[in-house]
Structure formats: C-alpha cells, structure tokens
Amino acid sequence: MERIGMRTTRNTKGQMRVIETILASFIILAALTFVNTFAVLPSSPKYETSDLEKMGHNILHDLDEQGLLSRFVYDKEWGELTLVLTIFLPPDVYFDLTIYDAHAQNIVINNGFPIRYGSQEVFTASNPTASVSYVMPGHHAEYDPRILVLQLVRG
C-alpha cells in the first residue's frame, strides 16, 4: 500500500514538471516573439535610413570642416562637388544634392546643374530615402546662407 502511495506522489510530481516545462517554453517563446517584433535588423529599411543619414551628415560636415564645401557651393563648382561626393560615398549609394537660397527657399541655386549620382527614378521609386539638411552661413564677408538637402538611396 505504501509503495502504491509513493508511486502516485512521484507520478503527480512528474506531471507537474512536464506542465512547468511547457509553461516555461511558452514564456520564452512569447518573450522571443515580442522582442523580435521590435528588433531593428541590419537589413531593415529603418536601419538603412538612419545609417545613410549619419553617413550624409558626416560627409557634409567633413567637407565643410576642410573648407571645401564652402568653396564648391559659393563658387558654384558643381562638377567638383559631384565628383567629391561620388568618391566619399560607397559605390552602391546614390545621391541627389539640391542647394537652396535660405532666404528664398523655392529658388534652387544649382538649377539646371544636377549634383546627382544615379537616375532621377531611383529617388522617386525608392521607398526608404534618407534626407539630410545642412545650412551654411556665407562666404568671405557676406552673410548669404544656403540650405543643402542631400538625398541618399542604397542601390
């Protein structure tokens, strides 16, 4: 009788372990699923956009720090600016830079001279397009601000 009683207790304990394991598995799976919905993987558009924005900011800042950006923009050296951006950016990144007069934003300074790598369709068709703004105060002794808008797309 005592042996039968012990067997029953062991069986009940064994069943509880199985239920506990199943519950634990459910908790882990639920947590992993929950985390996965928030995870930003390197291939996701969100990651790509922020990565490209950082890249764009850094390139414009570096060029400005060296005094090159100011020369290209105010001396209207669009060809040189296109070339430098093409060299600085990775080959699979397309760009389109538009320069506006800060006091008349609908006036495009480089109108008719696109500072671009890649066709126009790349920017209109692509969904995750990174856009970076950069403002410059002037040149020599004149306050003459320019707003640079750099669009970037990974090909």
Binding site: A31, V40, H57, H61, D64, S70
Partner: protein
Amino acid sequence: MMIALMIVSIGAIMYRAGTYYRYEQWEEYITLTEHVKLNTIRLVEISLANYTAPGNNSTSILKDNLNQWQNDLRKAYPGYGIILTYNLTDGTNINYSQGLASHWNENASYSAANANFALNITSVGLEGYRFMATAFLNLTILNVDALSDVITVAVTGEDGMPITDLKKGNFQVDGLDIKNVTSSYHETYILVYTINCDGSIPAPVTVTVWDQRGIIVIAKS
C-alpha cells in the same frame, strides 16, 4: 519556471541596453551639434571680415547676422527644435563693442570678435550646450629697413600661433608696390613675413594684411 523567468528578464534588460543608443541616434545629434558650432564660429569670422572691410564699420553687424542665423537654423531644421542663444562680449582688455573690436594704426594692431553661445535641441532633450566663438588677427611690424626697402611683420591668429598661408596678395604697403613676400623662422613669433618693397619706404609706413577669411588689420610703424 524560475530559470525561464530569469532568462526573459535578463534578455529584456540586455535587449534594452543593446538597442538604447541605436534608437537615440546619438551620432546624428553629435554631428548636428558640431555642425551648428562650426558654422556659428564661421559666421563670427564672416561678421568680423565684414566689420573690417573698407567702408563698413557698423558694430551691429555681428548682432544682425546672429539674429538672422537663429531664424535660418530653425528654418533649415524644422523638426529638431534648435534654439541658439548668444551673448556678445563687451569691454574686457580688448575693448569689444557688441562682440567686435579693432585696434589699428599702431605698431601692433588687431581685429577681434568674441561671443558666447548656448545651444538647445529640444527634440532630443539637449539643453545648454555652451561654446565660445573667437576670431582674431594680429599684425605686428617688427622692423623697417629703409636701406634695403624691406619690412618684417608677424601675423598671428586666435591662439597666438602664426598665420602660415599668406602670399604677396594678402599684403599692402601704402604708396608702394610689393616686389615679393617671403616667410622665415623667428625665435619669438615662430614665423615672420618679409615684404620686399619696390621703392623707398616712407616713415611712418602703413601695412595692411587680410587673411584667407577676409579679416583685415592695418598697422603703422
């Protein structure tokens, strides 16, 4: 069960720690802060160049430019909530007026600008990022050799270090043409410029210099 709960809890904490900086995009905001700082300093230099340009001597130029710059920054970065406030230096031993000063027609002359800034970027909770913008150009006439028609000058910048990239076109001697300008080592100023003049040097002589930023200084021996 306890182990499962521990794994989930630690996993959540580690996930939060690993993704915190990615979501905040700190690199982008640091670059933005550096960009505002760089171009604000450049604006102070532009204003000093304007102030020292012939025919211009309005001391309100720096204030006017900074007021416009505040608006243009907001326009260029509409979603960021950029607020740049400034405080123009007045007085001190350089005798600034609205952040600008020029002390010319002396043996050692200078042009200077100074302002303090505080930057807020409300979208990221950045408040009170302070920096100072200084622009300075000093011209000292060290020697005038009337026999060989040579003037030796020292040109220094903000930190007292010599300005090294000046050419013949950056100098002017009143009433005389310049044949050439050479630079050489000097034990006090590190680098000095020798201006070879075409003709006899009058006494006193007035020398003008402008650096690559367009800031002008006029010194008289």
